[in-house]
């Protein structure tokens, strides 16, 4: 990293904050990418002005950890759209978004990345474009894939945290299994109407499979039954858990999960 870049950023900072204009100048002068500039800003003890409103919340050390984090979002539909938006705005340095699908009309009620213009387009491509508009300091890797037991290890290689934004139970079981094999923490989430659940499956744990352990009928594909706020509520708590995992903020239940009942408006922690 050019020493001149560091000097430039130090001189450009006002009150310790580096504004986006300075990023653009730095990129132009030194040929360095926005994500790399952001990392240098934080490593120099400066703070991106973009995140000024969360400087007390995350602290520079926390923001640097988020910048260095590589988070996989498996699924880019309802939960995924919310996760992409919130994690990008928080400043997660790399988002690897995995989904094979395109947007369809019935996604419009709850998939925030879906617009009239994006119908028929690949979800992960639309996601990349959205992130480029809201926070170009975030690197997005878009993978047009359906994660399963065979490709999971390749798709999640190099990630620090994996987030479940899937819409089927069999797929979740596979994801939980892959993450366990790879010793990756998995932030599980699922939502159906008023009801949802989130949990952190710790590395080498099998919590997700235990949440779906009861033998029932063979898995049936259930048609979606979700509205915007239910999806956003569950995704929001997933983002909170991602941040807590990355920043090691206790408490993180070792052997439990959170059950949402939005009809009763209550959120309860359940421990095994």
């Amino acid at each position: 990293m050019p020493e001149d870049l560091k000097a430039f950023l130090l001189s450009a900072a006002m009150g310790g904050l580096v504004d986006w204009q300075s990023y653009e100048t730095a990129r132009h002068l030194f040929g360095v990418s926005y994500p790399d500039i952001e990392q240098v800003v934080l490593e120099q003890g400066l703070f991106p002005k973009r995140y000024a409103a969360q400087r007390q919340f995350f602290q520079p050390e926390g923001q640097l950890k988020l910048c260095r984090a590589r988070v996989a979002i498996v699924g880019c539909g309802g939960l995924g759209s919310c996760l992409v938006e919130m994690l990008a705005r928080a400043g997660i340095g790399t988002l690897q978004i995995i989904d094979p699908d395109v947007f369809v009309e019935s996604n419009l009620n709850r998939q925030f990345l879906c617009t009239a213009d994006s119908l028929g387009r690949l979800k992960v491509e639309v996601a990349a474009e959205r992130v480029a508009r809201i926070n170009p300091a975030v690197t997005v890797i878009s993978l047009v894939e359906a994660l399963n037991g065979e490709n999971g290890v390749d798709l999640l290689a190099g990630m620090n945290v994996v987030v479940d934004a899937l819409d089927s139970i069999p797929a979740r079981r596979e994801l939980g299994h892959v993450c366990r094999k790879m010793n990756l923490p998995l932030v599980h989430g699922a939502v159906a109407g008023w009801y949802g659940q989130v949990a952190v499956q710790r590395p080498s744990d099998d919590l997700v499979s235990r949440l779906y352990s009861h033998p029932g009928q063979p898995e049936m594909e259930m048609p979606p039954d979700n509205f915007s706020a239910g999806v956003a509520a569950v995704a929001s708590l997933q983002v909170v858990l991602v941040v807590k995992v990355l920043l090691d903020v206790e408490p993180l239940p070792a052997n439990g999960w959170f059950s949402f009942d939005l009809r009763e408006v209550d959120l309860e922690r359940i421990d095994f």
Partner: protein
């Protein structure tokens, strides 16, 4: 014999959140409770007795806390 039954999510609809329930003393299985509550067996996600996984054939005892969660799979 009395047990406590806790229902979660959609299982609460038309039923309750938590209830202290009188059950017959002998051979009362969780499966019988599920049937008595008219809960759809195939929709059960997690079934806990005193915080531990249990099967439908589990025999309930005085003071047990039985928690039932539907499986939730959307996103």
């Amino acid at each position: 014999m009395r047990i406590t039954v806790k229902l979660f999510a959609s299982f609460r609809e038309g039923r309750f959140k938590v209830e202290s329930r009188e059950i017959p003393s002998s051979s009362y299985l969780v499966g019988q409770l599920v049937a008595d509550l008219e809960l759809p067996v195939e929709k059960i996600g997690v079934l806990l007795v005193n915080g531990r996984h249990a099967v439908l054939e589990h025999r309930l005892e005085e003071g047990d806390v039985c928690a039932l969660f539907p499986r939730i799979g959307g996103g």
